[in-house]
Symmetry: C2
Subunit: 344 residues, 2 copies
Amino acid sequence: MSRPPVADPRRTLTLRDVSEASGVSEMTVSRVLRNRGDVSDTTREKVLQAARALGYVPNKIAGALASQRVNLVGVIIPSMSNMVFPEVMTGISETLEDTGLQPVMGVTNYNPEREESVLYEMLSWRPSGVIIAGLEHSPAARAMLESAGIPIVEIMDIDGDPVDSAVGISHRRAGRQMAETIVASGYRRIGFLGTKMPEDHRARKRLEGFREGLARAGLELADEEYYGGGSALLKGREMTEAILRRTPDLDFLYYSNDMIGAGGLLWCLDQGIDVPGRLGLAGFNGVELLDGLPRKLATMDACRREIGVHAAEIIAGKRPSGVIGGELIELFPTLQPGDTIRRP
Amino acid sequence: MSRPPVADPRRTLTLRDVSEASGVSEMTVSRVLRNRGDVSDTTREKVLQAARALGYVPNKIAGALASQRVNLVGVIIPSMSNMVFPEVMTGISETLEDTGLQPVMGVTNYNPEREESVLYEMLSWRPSGVIIAGLEHSPAARAMLESAGIPIVEIMDIDGDPVDSAVGISHRRAGRQMAETIVASGYRRIGFLGTKMPEDHRARKRLEGFREGLARAGLELADEEYYGGGSALLKGREMTEAILRRTPDLDFLYYSNDMIGAGGLLWCLDQGIDVPGRLGLAGFNGVELLDGLPRKLATMDACRREIGVHAAEIIAGKRPSGVIGGELIELFPTLQPGDTIRRP
DNA sequence: CTGAAAGCGCTAACAC
DNA sequence: GTGTTAGCGCTTTCAG
């Protein structure tokens, strides 16, 4: 099919248009636009000028099909709204910046079916790699990851069996460590406050580790409280009130995340409760928000940025180790006791 | 070039593989996989079974090139970490859900050069539409948007000259309205606290509107304070302390966003300052976080989710109006006086 | 209902 | 340094 004699104004420009406008072959135009191979300065200028004048934007679809190369990295995360993933994304973006690779984000809302479809959609664009949160996936999703033939990095968590590479912390260990610290500080009647999210495996593992840590000291959780959606800060208040009403003699509250922990802290201060003397508090994540609170909530930093950086390095093949694939990087969160755990 | 006699295990599967495995022509396989046209149930089953067994994932690159159709919508936003865009994204995702379109996000960090390159990169994948925050773009970016030949929706702001469609609020009006409310409540010595971000045009317009509103009452800002990066909550505290130290007789503080406003509120309460009697406070955005604070900060809801919904409707062609392109949708934020503005 | 042929816009590989 | 040729894996179109 030959082109119509008069250009269709709605058609997007092609290499051929630039070729015709500059009087240079399509192939050479392509070379100039990709900075590939040797092209004389005269030709290069002619081409660039024509491309700019026309406002040509290359068609990556055609380019990718021809070259079998796609400069995209799929990033699949459960949520955007909890302050943890934005920082991971920052680490990824920064690291990918000078590699020519580009992150493309998909959000699953902690829904395995959605994860499956987001992954399918992404793989159908044949990205150069996939970074995906968590080690738990549906069998179909896992099969896709295994047979994708590209680097896969599972992030956030290392307690499990990675498909390929993994970068994260041990949430089980983090929970245990927090329990040990709390027990060592003399607290004995300990309550847990968390989310009703069966699919948040990292929160689950932290709680498991926490229970384990208590058990080693011959303790167990004295009470538990869970919540669904809504403002985490507000929920933290409400849950704290509820659990203390039910079990007034609790002397420590362990929150599954900093936002509800912050809500709890604000509530306790409102009530004039002596923190950390009468009641100790701790959260998880190390979010920046805590810096502005009247008192510093004890927490553990989840190494979010660092996780993003390492994951991107693996995909971009710039790991100093030189290892290709199958890397497992464990990071070690630091416990920040803040002002809400009494010194032993 | 003919294929090698033995399949390369690293090669990803093609339609032809499914065709051979099922004994059905590539064309019919393609029809089945896209639910297009009439295919007998027997054939359909054979094909689906073969595709599942092989773990075939269609190659959208080839599909897009052949069909000249890409089910992607580019979404370009300045930041992920300020609680405003996640909600816009939620509105977009929900609305696009049943349209077959998929959002692809790019982040500019309020940097016009970065916006330009993110946009270029996106357009090179020939998306079905672009949703982009703000009405201010570099000349090159604007030229790209104008000649892209696809629906463009500029969001968040309507004070300016849209390329195509726009959905948002008038930040100038919002600022003016807040000023009027404050003045009507009897405050006279008013300070402003904001960000050092010359590229945050919406914050700038709010401030302009705010000044305008004050001017109408014969007032002007008594003092101003600006900050760079860091924890917004903490900065809110520090700035509040700084501005009140410098100008102790201020009776109202207007913050450019809720996070620094929340920090300011917490600081004032720590100090035992009478809010809103001695000092009134207000922020902007209507973030959910405020619900958990000891007192409710006055704010204005920026209609974030709604903006996302309408923008996506425009791209997906499901506007009830039936209008195609060039739509301008103004939303009207509601002022929530909370507990930090005294009743007149 | 199914199949064959002809590209989509670009780049790898090779000639000149 | 530059041009030519032959696809990349799919879908459109048209013929059966």
